[in-house]
């Protein structure tokens, strides 16, 4: 155990003396956090947004809205109960959910409850997608109302029936009869007009949003407030860079040792191969944890990032550090010289980061890349840290990313230490 500490302390001391390594571990992630934090909000070409619809009304009207949402190419729709839809959004698996509360369909009729509103719950990270999504839902609502009140729908009959009823009902005061009659007639002519201007806008634009039915957009986080600033999003993302920097620095140091002969001395010392690897791993994990902590501290103390669940954050940092230590061990055996390891390593790391949301926000990715991102350890590290920072994860929700990180870490260490030749050639 003493030897493990000695090995780790040596590596950490060497790391502190390497300015280039320090830059990749600390400087670069911070630069990325600040850069993306300051420019965030930009859009880009989009893939179909994964959303859930929660149809608590289950009326023909809401059913037709859901069908329209389903048929639009810009969305990937699934139905889910409210609880699970909220969780999926909070976990980052979906961009948003659209809730049609009971009574929504009726509220589009006459004398309906106008305070009843469609709720869109969005992932605050996808704020860029919010208006885009609102546009889709608005368009679907309009088209459904139109379909219902148009020539083919039952709406006009309903209006006519209402007018007849109005005329024949003796209990209605003359002023009220006059007022409602005017309104219904106006409505009737409006529907005729609608019919004639009917166009196919099924794939939606964002027009007409201002005149839309009551749509309420809420952000889905524990306290429903979401990240206060873009920095709450970009600082957790930039930990990916810190992890990658540490991982690469140690992978390269391991080959460097093998090349320069210091590794030979380690092997000739009266310590086992497990001890040598444990020392390297401990140093790597400590450096990763410290680097991530420093990056997040800067976020907390200078850029106002809030941490909602400190113990979970500690677990997320620990699991991420552990995971990337395993990745480091695998990367370190990808080549025989520092340049070949660095080359292969950075390739893999950039891929992990790119697909994991370290570079391009997940929402801006093409669909295939979003699918790939589930395999990116960077994504799980970011989700775990975000869960503790502002997504308001409980332990149950944090378990899958934490589990994946730890599992991958164990796998990486097993594979890496098997391939790393510490025994006699």
């Amino acid at each position: 155990m003493k030897a493990i500490w000695a090995l780790a302390a040596k590596d950490l001391r060497l790391l502190l003396r390497d300015r280039a390594d320090l830059f990749w571990i600390l400087g670069f992630p911070i630069v990325m956090a600040l850069f993306f934090g300051s420019i965030s909000g930009g859009g880009g070409p989009r893939a179909a947004l994964p959303i859930a619809v929660v149809d608590q009304d289950a009326s023909p009207m809401t059913q037709s809205i859901v069908d329209r949402l389903r048929s639009s190419e810009g969305l990937k729709v699934r139905e889910a109960p409210l609880d699970s839809a909220r969780n999926l959004v909070r976990r980052g698996d979906l961009v948003a959910y659209v809730l049609f509360p009971a009574g929504t369909g009726a509220s589009f009729g006459f004398g309906g409850d106008s305070t009843q509103s469609v709720e869109i719950g969005v992932d605050p990270r996808r704020s860029a997608e919010r208006e885009y999504l609102r546009g889709f839902v608005t368009a679907a609502l309009f088209q459904s109302i139109q379909g219902s009140f148009g020539a083919s729908g039952g709406g006009r009959d309903q209006v006519r029936a209402s007018l007849d009823q109005l005329r024949e009902n003796p209990d209605i005061a003359p002023e009220a009869r006059e007022r409602q009659g005017t309104m219904l007639r106006a409505l009737e002519s409006f529907m005729v007009a609608l019919d004639s201007t009917r166009t196919d806008t099924a794939t939606g634009g964002t027009d007409g949003e201002a005149a839309g039915p009551n749509i309420r957009v809420v952000e889905v986080t524990e306290d429903d407030s979401g990240p206060r600033s873009a920095y709450e999003v970009t600082f957790p993302s930039s930990i990916a860079w810190a992890l990658i920097g540490v991982c690469m620095s140690f992978a390269v140091s391991l080959v460097q040792e093998r090349m320069t002969g210091t590794f030979l001395r380690l092997r000739l010392a009266p310590i086992g191969r497990a001890t040598i690897l444990a020392g390297k791993g401990l140093a790597c994990a400590l450096a990763a944890a410290v680097a991530v902590t420093i990056v997040l501290c800067l976020g907390v103390f200078v850029f106002g990032v809030r941490i909602s669940n400190p113990p979970l954050l500690a677990a997320a940092i620990g699991a991420s550090a552990f995971c990337f230590t395993g990745v480091m061990m695998v990367v370190s055996v990808l080549g025989k010289t520092p340049p070949s390891v660095a080359g292969a390593g950075w390739g893999i790391m950039l891929l992990l980061s790119m697909t994991g949301g370290g570079m391009i926000p997940l929402v801006a990715m093409p669909a295939w890349m979003q699918a790939v991102s589930n395999y990116s350890l960077v994504r799980h590290a970011i989700v775990a840290v975000e869960g503790a920072v502002w997504r308001g994860f409980g332990w149950g929700e944090a378990l899958p990313p934490l589990g994946i990180l730890i599992g991958a870490g164990i796998l990486g260490m097993a594979v890496g230490s098997r391939l790393l030749r510490t025994d006699r050639a």
Binding site: K2, K10, L14, R17, T260, L264, R265, L266, P270, R424
Partner: protein
């Protein structure tokens, strides 16, 4: 009883035979030299002795135990690898303290050993400097003491003076002689025959992975070095020596003989002034030349 016993070691890399059946024993307190040109298989032999390389065949026994990878045995072996094995971004002191701690040293003992090592290597004044700022000779000296912190009874030094200026070389050499005086058992590889002659009680001459001869320096010279050679230069070739044997080259008379004094006497009696007189005693260089037909530095 021998501290180190090597029996029929063999090692190939691909189809290149690096070590081809090497056997020898080194007694406790003895200094043993492996002398051979580049590629002779010295480093490979050392690698197998210390357990860094797995022999294809043969055995290594140290202190009666035959698995040099066992930690208990590693504590008794000290190595100075041929390739510098130092952390360039650690100071001399930090390098030493780190390697010492791998051998279980700590606290005051470690500090004391580090101080000893710095003094031994003559690096006290530079102890706080990074290894990368050291000259080649200083790095060699540090490389040497990094393997000695745990005070091992068996020390293997793989060309510890290679690429070092004469002054540094002498400093390193005196350190090693001090180790020898302290009773350490030393295995020393080199391709400098003067070093082997000066330090080693016995020397194995290696070439192409084999030991060609193994004996004390005197024994090797006696058996393989040929006779001493007398070289005398006269202004003119004396007639009295016409039938005396030897060869004539550039006005020099060269005679190989077991009795150089008699040859000198003949020369003096030739009645001519002697311009140049030399008796070349055979050395390891001559031994190597005799055994392989090549010079050591080829």
């Amino acid at each position: 009883m021998s501290l180190l016993r090597v029996r029929d070691l063999r090692k190939t890399f691909g189809d290149r035979v690096a070590v081809d059946g090497v056997s020898f024993q080194v007694a406790r307190g003895e200094s043993f030299g492996l002398l051979g040109p580049n590629g002779a298989g010295k480093t490979t032999t050392i690698g197998m002795i210390v357990g860094a390389l797995r022999p294809d065949a043969g055995t290594v026994t140290v202190d009666g135990e035959d698995d040099p990878t066992r930690p208990s045995l590693r504590l008794r072996i000290g190595v100075a690898p041929q390739a510098l094995a130092l952390y360039q971004d650690l100071t001399a002191e930090e390098n030493l303290a780190f390697f010492g701690s791998l051998y279980g040293l700590s606290g005051a003992t470690l500090q004391e050993r580090v101080r000893w090592a710095l003094a031994f290597a003559g690096l006290e004044e530079r102890r706080r400097d990074l290894a990368r700022t050291f000259s080649g000779g200083m790095q060699r000296r540090l490389n040497l003491v990094c393997g000695l912190l745990h005070d091992p009874p068996l020390i293997l030094l793989d060309e510890p003076t290679v690429g070092v200026d004469p002054q540094s070389r002498n400093a390193i050499f005196e350190s090693i002689e001090a180790l020898k005086r302290d009773g350490r058992t030393i295995v020393y590889t080199t391709h400098y025959m003067e070093e082997a002659e000066r330090l080693c009680d016995r020397v194995a001459i290696m070439d192409h992975g084999r030991i060609l001869a193994l004996d004390t320096v005197a024994g090797l010279v006696r058996d393989h070095g040929g006779k001493p050679r007398v070289v005398i230069e006269f202004p003119e070739r004396p007639a009295t020596l016409a039938k005396a044997g030897g060869t004539w080259e550039d006005g020099q008379w060269r005679v190989e003989t077991d009795r150089p004094e008699e040859v000198l006497l003949q020369a003096v009696n030739a009645g001519q002034p002697l311009r140049h007189v030399a008796i070349d005693r055979a050395n390891l260089e001559a031994v190597f030349l005799h055994l392989t037909g090549r010079s050591l530095r080829d």
